[in-house]
């Protein structure tokens, strides 16, 4: 209800900005900003279908030869993609479990050291990833885990955790505590309430958080440079190529990465909406 109230009143107030020269400037800068953000990526996608053996725009012809090279020609690419997928999936699981557990008390408030915990969760995003990467490199070398895939998964989980927390928090803040109280009142044990009431109600945030945690790992470069050992992730594989020469296979790899981002991002947003609506519908049904 609060939201409807706000929207209906903000609109007419700002309407006076809808006309005149000011509005044209605002429109222009918005269109330019969106072009600036998205057009370069679109150009990479177009060029990945180039038939030329070096990168030029516009391409002289179109082909899928660089995709053939990515998927079949050079097996190191698919190998790297597979490793990235395994690492990102494991990261998503760890970050989502830890993130859900910490997001619930954070959202409910009254937690001791609340702001300290928030600062701790946020700090890996604020501190330069290079500091984190080098520190973890030294740390895992010390405990003999440097060549292990676990080192990379744990490193990525540190960066992915805040995204999980953020998304679960949104659902946790919207959770009506009376639903849990009702279940307890009917004699359900706390663990049962957690499993059958709390978790299903938080599902939209948990699932969205898992997808974002997956992407945070899948697209991460700096920690992967130090912790992927001799067996590179897709990002590390791309980095090695970019530093040597501008090779069109990188454009095909980029398009694959953009596709993964689009799928994970849309899945997160759509599932979140779908599950939230389902919860709202069942809540409305219970009310009547």
């Amino acid at each position: 209800m609060g939201r409807c109230h706000k929207v209906s009143h903000v609109q007419p107030v700002y309407r006076s900005f809808g006309y005149g020269g000011l509005s044209a400037i605002l429109d222009l800068s918005t269109v330019l900003a969106l072009l600036f953000l998205l057009a370069p990526v679109v150009i990479v996608i177009v060029i990945s279908f180039s038939a030329d053996s070096y990168l030029q725009f516009p391409p002289s012809g179109f082909s899928v030869r660089w995709y053939a090279n990515f998927f079949v020609g050079d097996p190191t690419w698919v190998h790297a993609a597979r490793k990235s997928f395994v690492v990102a999936t494991s990261t998503a699981i760890i970050a989502t479990v830890l993130g859900t557990l910490v997001a619930i008390p954070l959202a409910r408030g009254g937690l001791r050291g609340h702001s300290m915990i928030e600062a701790l969760l946020l700090s890996p995003l604020i501190i330069s990833p290079m500091i984190t990467a080098v520190a973890l490199y030294g740390f895992f070398a010390g405990v003999g885990l440097i060549k292990s895939i676990f080192a990379l998964i744990l490193g990525h989980s540190i960066l992915a955790l805040p995204y999980a927390v953020m998304n679960v928090s949104v659902s946790a803040k919207a959770l009506d505590p009376r639903l849990e109280q009702a279940a307890m009142g009917l004699g359900a044990r706390p663990v049962y309430v957690f499993r059958r009431v709390t978790i299903p109600l938080l599902a939209p945030g948990i699932i969205a958080g898992a997808f974002f945690a997956f992407l945070a790992s899948f697209d991460e470069v700096v920690i992967a440079l130090f912790l992927s050992g001799l067996d590179p992730t897709l990002q590390k594989r791309m980095w090695d190529d970019i530093r040597l020469e501008i090779n069109p296979t990188v454009a095909a790899a980029s398009t694959v990465l953009v596709a993964v981002s689009l799928v994970a991002f849309s899945a997160a947003i759509l599932l979140q909406r779908f599950l939230a609506r389902r919860i709202a519908v069942s809540a409305a049904r219970d009310d009547s």
Binding site: V7, V13, Y14, S16, F17, L26, S29, T30, L32, A33, L34, F36, L37, V41, I43, V44, Y54, L55, Q56, L98, V102, I104, P105, L111, I117, A119, L122, P124, L125, I126, I127, S128, P129, M130, I131, T132, V134, Y137, G138, F139, L154, S157, I158, L161, M166, F212, D219, Q235, M238, I242, I246, A251, S254, L257, V258, S261, L262, A264, F265, I269
Partner: protein
């Protein structure tokens, strides 16, 4: 229930980072030699200057481009506003390496810019526009712009509409409302965006490393070089400590003035 996450971060983040940074002071006994070398190093001073200069320029560019966009999003109808914000957030979730690579494709010798300028006779032969400060600032602004826009939109949306209605009711023109009501009340959002973009820019590695030239070496590149090439962890830790202290100092000033709560909304996309 908060314990597992706290223990996880304490053991695998705070401990390793602390251990690494303390390496700048112990070798193995307490020493200040790493910081002494750092203080005497002309090259380090240049790199710090590069880092601050590039970060400040990127912050300014993001603010100038981002502020009007944020205001437009606030005044759009809800559907268009949601769509524009979605496009902004989506761009954040596209791999940073891909977004940087896109600029290499556009600005390189065989790229669109070179071909276009050649066709219009503005240059005589194909030319690369990479490996200079302009390219680095362009590519970094590309990555960081959404972090500027989102907090400003949040601040503008939280302005009490009755203040704007009151100003309009008393005869203020749109431009006056913008200048006297919306602008001052949006400043905390702009400050959040600036701090966020600046802090994130300070720690950048990938963009200056692949798009920058010799004049764009930033602190994170120095840390990488000490660890990977010089194998000197003490100096790497001294560089890292300097970068961290710089970051935390800006963060602390911001926290005192505005509180940290705001950063949550911005930093986590």
């Amino acid at each position: 229930m908060a314990a597992p996450a706290v223990i996880f971060l304490a053991g695998l983040f705070v401990l390793p980072v602390g251990q690494f940074l303390l390496g700048s002071l112990f070798d193995p006994a307490f020493t200040l030699k790493h910081y002494e070398r750092l203080a005497e190093s002309r090259a380090f001073l240049v790199v710090i200057e590069n880092t601050v200069r590039i970060s400040a320029t990127v912050t300014l560019a993001s603010l100038l481009l981002g502020y009007p966009v944020a205001f437009r999003i606030t005044t759009f109808n809800p559907r268009l506003a949601a769509l524009t914000l979605l496009a902004l957030v989506l761009s954040v979730w596209i791999s940073l390496l891909v977004r940087n690579y896109a600029w290499m494709v556009l600005l390189g010798r065989e790229g669109l810019l070179s071909a276009g300028l050649l066709r219009f006779g503005l240059i005589d032969q194909k030319q690369s526009f990479l490996y200079n400060e302009f390219a680095v600032i362009l590519a970094m602004t590309h990555v960081l712009l959404p972090f500027m826009v989102i907090p400003i939109v949040a601040a503008m949306r939280s302005i009490d509409p009755s203040l704007i209605r009151a100003a309009e009711g008393m005869g203020a023109r749109p431009l006056a409302v913008l200048r006297r009501v919306v602008f001052p009340l949006s400043l905390p959002g702009a400050a959040t965006g600036c701090v966020l973009v600046f802090i994130l820019a300070l720690g950048f590695f990938v963009t200056p490393a692949i798009i920058g030239g010799r004049g764009q070496i930033m602190v994170a590149m120095l840390i990488e070089g000490e660890v990977n090439e010089q194998l000197n962890w003490g100096y790497a830790a001294a560089y890292a400590t300097t970068l961290l202290v710089l970051t935390l100092a800006i963060f602390a000033v911001f926290h005192r003035r505005f509180g940290m709560q705001r950063l949550w909304g911005g930093a986590t996309k």
